[in-house]
């Protein structure tokens, strides 16, 4: 039993270096590898706005938005997971548990089944996330916002159970849509459900996703100290000066926007929101001030690396990023759990 705690580790600088390295790898490797020198040249030209015209520049214009989207998606999902695990004081929570991404998946599947385009699918996904969230707010209203529920008993499980029920409902609706969908679209739908970055080629969308990630991350960070106290129960946090109801409401909205955005961009990428906060907590401890940024950055790295491997390993085939991440991540996570 390791009851004496180790000194905190500075993880963020390490993660920043790892992020830079994985970004470089994501740009370099793929169905065609770019030599390091050509990559640097093409990057320089791109940054100065010059048309280079080389193969490297062409590939870069495809890979850069995709890498940006991958990082934003991973970062947003891991941020959501870290927030939910702290808010619900439950290490099993992740963006899927509240049914938010279930709602998004449902709506997106409807859009694909109806033969709508990628933009409409993304919009539907975001809308579905919001509908699921609204449902949660209505159903778990008492546990979420009631002023006198400060005794904590049963509060978190009420939210969690409501979320699980919404997620189950979404899963049922989803299978209904899948079973009724025309055969020709099933492949697209399955890929979307597994998490797929194949459609992420728009620089504008990538920039928007990265900006959203940054803004939501900073907003969440403002409440990190309050969230730290809320780990010890809402009553204690309240008597220590945290307006618990307001903080809870703010962070759940941030979670919903982050999840909705990520699902709209890349489909249902699972696992990262659950595992990134876990791995980070094992190193830096449970204080959300350290966990939120580190977990978010680790999530970004995980999705980026998984997508790079997915693009390269069986090229020209592209493997879905969600499946790959779980295949690599699960053994790593279990190995981590076995260590004392």
């Amino acid at each position: 039993m390791h009851s004496r705690l180790r000194a905190p580790v500075r993880l963020l600088p390490v993660l920043l270096v790892a992020a830079a390295l994985s970004l470089f790898a994501a740009l370099r490797f793929g169905s065609v590898d770019i030599a390091g020198g050509a990559l640097v040249d093409a990057l320089g030209d791109l940054l100065q706005g010059r048309q280079n015209g080389s193969l490297a520049a062409t590939l870069l214009s495809l890979r850069l938005p995709r890498a940006g989207t991958a990082m934003a998606v991973g970062g947003l999902l891991a941020l959501s997971g870290a927030l939910l695990q702290s808010l619900l004081r439950n290490p099993l929570a992740d963006p899927y548990v509240l049914g938010v991404s279930g709602g998004a998946s449902c709506a997106a599947m409807l859009a694909i089944a109806a033969g709508l385009g990628a933009a409409a699918v993304a919009l539907f996904a975001a809308g579905g996330a919001l509908v699921a969230l609204a449902l949660l707010f209505v159903l778990a209203h008492r546990a979420l916002f009631a002023r006198d529920v400060l005794l904590d008993t049963g509060k978190d499980s009420a939210i969690l159970l409501t979320g699980v029920m919404i997620a189950s409902l979404c899963a049922a609706l989803l299978s209904l849509v899948l079973s009724l969908a025309p055969d020709g679209r099933l492949r697209t739908m399955v890929f979307w459900l597994l998490g797929d970055l194949g459609g992420a080629s728009s620089p504008a969308l990538a920039l928007m996703a990265l900006a959203t990630w940054l803004v939501l991350g900073l907003l969440a960070q403002r409440d990190a100290a309050a969230l730290h106290l809320m780990l010890g129960g809402d009553l204690q946090a309240y008597t220590q000066g945290v307006p618990t109801t307001r903080v809870r409401r703010r962070l759940i909205v941030i979670t919903a926007i982050a999840t909705g955005m990520a699902v709209a961009l890349a489909g249902a990428v699972g696992f990262v929101g659950f595992v990134a906060p876990h791995l980070v907590r094992r190193i830096v401890g449970a204080n959300p001030r350290q966990v939120l940024p580190s977990a978010s950055l680790l999530g970004a790295i995980l999705v980026l690396v998984a997508d790079t491997i997915g693009r390269s390993i069986a090229a020209p085939l592209q493997l879905p990023v969600g499946a790959l991440m779980a295949i690599i991540g699960v053994p790593v996570f279990i190995w981590q759990l076995q260590r004392p």
Binding site: R4, N90, P91, R147, D148, L229, L231, G233, V242
Partner: protein, 270 residues
């Protein structure tokens, strides 16, 4: 000087049972009040009401002359702290961090007097403030005989140790009023005495504590509030309220009072 905390006609109802009816209470600065009564008489619930965490079902509670409902959550935390009788520790944290975190309202960079971020002088001030916070936290841990526990993971502390760390956290909040829910319920005899003495030594603080142990209540408190659980209550100086005549009907048990020279001891008869 008006009372630090005052109740006017406060009702406390749980479900359909009215536990406390029309409570009038004046708690002056520096007093130590013991809440005494049978299980389920509403001691913890009243503490929640006094903490502002639960609205009174009727009547008003004023802190420093201002109605509780008019206080902001953050300002309230500067005036009153509370130690509950249970703790939630879902993730690893050191005892020292737990106590430092309790100073949320006093943390570096918070409050109107906080220096602007980024400025070199501001950074030094922030660091000094953080160091001061840790010093206070260590002092409070020492007062609760927890210096040894500072680096330990709170999840692996015994309940008694965890309780003393929680008490240290409330003291570190540096408030005028501290509400205590069964503060020595998990303490061994030595620590029961030690904790109550350490609390009494904080003469600047006003305490209101629910206490099951009548003897601890008698030794710790200056005043006592007896709660019957059926709406009736009795408040006054401990010497006049904590007597056999009042306690026997309160607990519906014959209670004997023995004078042992320095103080009185209460024994429940079988």
């Amino acid at each position: 000087m008006s009372a630090l905390l005052s109740c006017r006609g406060v009702d406390v109802t749980v479900g359909s049972r009215r536990l406390i009816r029309a409570l009038d209470l004046e708690v002056e600065s520096g007093q130590r009040w013991a809440l005494v009564g049978p299980n389920g008489a509403g001691k913890s619930t009243l503490l929640l009401v006094l903490a502002g965490a639960r609205p009174a079902d009727d009547g008003t509670v004023c802190l420093a002359g201002r109605r509780l409902a008019a206080w902001s959550v953050e300002d309230l935390a500067g005036v009153r702290a509370m130690v509950a009788d249970r703790w939630i520790d879902p993730f690893a944290a050191s005892a020292l961090d737990t106590v430092v975190a309790a100073r949320y309202r006093l943390r570096a960079g918070a409050g109107p007097g906080a220096p602007a971020r980024g400025a070199a002088a501001g950074k030094a001030a922030l660091r000094a403030q953080a160091e001061h916070g840790e010093t206070v936290a260590r002092e409070c841990l020492a007062a609760m005989d927890c210096s040894e526990l500072a680096d330990r993971d709170v999840r692996y502390l015994s309940r008694g140790e965890r309780q003393r760390v929680a008490l240290a956290g409330a003291l570190a909040q540096e408030t005028a009023l501290v509400l205590l829910d069964e503060p020595i319920s998990h303490q061994d005899p030595r620590h029961q005495i030690q904790v109550l003495q350490a609390l009494r030594a904080r003469t600047a603080c006003t305490f209101i504590g629910a206490l099951h142990d009548i003897n601890a209540a008698a030794r710790f408190s200056t005043h006592a509030l007896l709660l019957h659980g059926d709406g009736r209550w009795r408040a006054g100086p401990s010497a006049t309220v904590l007597t056999r005549a009042h306690l026997s009907p309160l607990f519906q048990t014959a209670i004997t009072e023995i004078d042992v020279g320095t103080h009185r001891v209460f024994v429940a008869e079988s």
